[in-house]
């Protein structure tokens, strides 16, 4: 298999990755960007039926102009010695050698199990949005949006615009906490306007705070759900449930490259924030992290961090002061937001029953794991997290339910044909 070589490898083509590639390539560096999706833009800029627009299109156009190599449908599956990764694209593997690597793998939704959540028709909130963008026609479907986080409003607004009959939004956070966040948004003008706009867009949709979906039922697919909160319980008939509990970073690639991921924060040398991780500095001076995987904070923070990582990887002094001030402002907002949508463990545990499936790959039930001491033991004893998704879904659920740390990724980080591995050789061309 032919090895590719680049100066700066960017893993992930969302806002952070694109901004990083743009910054580095504008300073004359040879840059390669890979993304697992067939289209660049990441989740936030996911294209409607493959048509990029706005800032995403602007950045991709700039990259094309700068001769950046863009490889869609390409995943980093393993780390190789001598500053190389093993990439998988269209069923074939090949090494990519780099001088510097920028990890910008973004975030995914965090899912919290509840009875019935494995029924077809129960989606992630962002997940349903992505499927609609991919062409899923939801016109006339009765939809409930539930969980926690700012994504719920955005998703509800989008689904309504696309013809979905959005019956209600059930937000687990209390009205009190949301009010506090409202105050925080006032300090960040852009965020405030965005929140107001979304609130208007969703007008006419019931917005219920302090409420959770406690079960979903149906024969072969979703038919009805129970929503509980504020001392009340109601049954709602619906076709689709879009549920998400805020976001969690895609730290798998960072873990492969031995960058520490701790409590959602990736500790790595990133040109500016080195002080947070001096001990790791010497080991990781060629590895940069940017965007949601380095802390959930939204698209503006991702663009900023991406740009900074791109400049640092290219060896260019950035406009550091301006960047630092802007970052502090966005960082304040991000931490206010993350506090508001912090999950209440007792509420989550109350909803669980012993037969609630936690690991959907191996169908491991809550009752089997609740007495385990940690995630590794639970994995070995019950096979939770040992299926194809390698704990991407149940890992963050267990983190929320039990406080377990879950850093135990093994290569390949997505399943890979044995015959492809049999072809592997590290001999260079």
């Amino acid at each position: 298999m032919a090895e590719r070589r680049t100066e700066i490898l960017v893993i992930g083509g969302g806002p952070a990755g694109l901004a990083a590639a743009e910054a580095a390539s504008s300073h004359g560096k040879r840059v390669t960007v890979i993304d697992e999706n067939p289209q660049f833009g990441g989740q936030i800029w996911r294209a409607e039926k493959q048509k990029l627009s706005g800032k995403a299109k602007e950045l991709v156009d700039a990259l094309e102009k700068n001769d950046v190599e863009l490889i869609p449908s390409c995943t980093c599956v393993a780390s190789l010695p001598e500053k190389r990764i093993l990439a998988l694209s269209q069923g074939r593997t090949f090494p990519i050698a780099y001088d510097k690597v920028i990890i910008a793998t973004g975030a995914r939704e965090r899912f919290i199990p509840f009875p019935g959540w494995t029924l077809p028709g129960v989606f992630g909130a962002g997940g349903l949005q992505a499927l609609v963008k991919g062409g899923y026609d939801i016109s006339g479907k009765r939809i409930v949006v539930a969980g926690t986080g700012p994504l719920l409003l955005a998703v509800a607004a989008y689904l309504k615009k696309k013809g979905g009959n959005v019956l209600m939004i059930a937000e687990q956070a209390s009205a009190k906490n949301l009010f506090k966040l409202g105050l925080a948004t006032l300090k960040v003008q852009g965020k405030f306007l965005e929140a107001v706009r979304l609130r208007f867009a969703t007008l006419g949709i019931k917005y219920s705070t302090g409420s959770s979906v406690t079960s979903a039922r149906g024969k072969d697919a979703l038919e009805e759900i129970t929503v509980e909160g504020n001392g009340k319980s109601s049954t709602i008939e619906c076709d689709l449930l879009a549920t998400g509990y805020h976001l969690t970073g895609n730290t798998e690639v960072a873990e492969l490259l031995d960058v520490f991921a701790l409590e959602g924060m990736v500790i790595a040398y990133d040109g500016q924030k080195a002080a947070t991780a001096e001990d790791f500095l010497y080991e990781h001076e060629d590895i940069f992290c940017a965007g949601e995987l380095a802390g959930i904070g939204g698209v503006e923070k991702a663009l900023l961090e991406g740009r900074r990582a791109g400049l640092a990887a290219a060896g260019v002094e950035g406009d550091t002061q301006e960047v630092a001030a802007e970052e502090e402002r966005l960082g304040r907002f991000a931490s206010a937001m993350n506090r508001t949508f912090e999950l209440d463990r007792d509420t989550l545990l109350e909803i669980m029953t012993d037969d609630t499936i936690v690991c959907r790959c191996e169908d491991v039930q809550f009752g089997k794991i609740k007495d385990c001491d940690n995630f590794i033991e639970a994995k070995l004893q019950t096979r939770i997290g040992m299926g194809s998704c390698q704990g991407r879904v149940c890992g963050s659920a267990c983190e929320a339910l039990f406080g377990w740390g879950t850093n135990s990724i093994r290569p390949p980080i997505i399943p890979l044909r044995v015959s492809e591995l049999a072809n592997f050789t590290t001999e260079k061309d």
Binding site: E36, N37, P38, Q43, A47, K49, Q50, K51, S73, G91, R108, E109, F111, T118, P120, G121, V122, F123, G124, G126, G127, L128, Q129, A130, L131, V132, G134, G135, Y136, D137, D220, A221, N250, R360, C361, E362, D363, G387, S388, C389, R392, V393, P415
Partner: protein, 82 residues
């Protein structure tokens, strides 16, 4: 956009427009069981973005492909329920 792409789901012919993902096309076709879980439950997409592996189907003979990350192509043959 017209439904100009022809493809098959479990041997039955369907059509969709370009830019549609396989997962979305299956949902539009009313498929609920994309795959069968290890205890025999029907499963369908959860995350829509490649993390959960619930939307796995067989595409053109290749098993366990995440349908949310694939675009429908002319003549594609999709098998579900595996």
């Amino acid at each position: 956009m017209p439904d100009s792409l022809k493809f098959k789901i479990d041997g039955v012919e369907h059509a969709t427009s370009p830019g549609t993902t396989v997962a979305s096309a299956l949902l539009n076709a009313g498929v609920t069981a994309f795959r069968t879980s290890v205890t025999g439950e029907p499963r369908a997409p959860l995350c829509g973005m490649g993390s959960c592996f619930e939307c796995r189907v067989t595409i053109d003979g290749v098993a366990n492909v995440r349908s949310c990350l694939e675009m429908v192509r002319e003549g594609m043959e999709i098998e579900t329920g595996g």
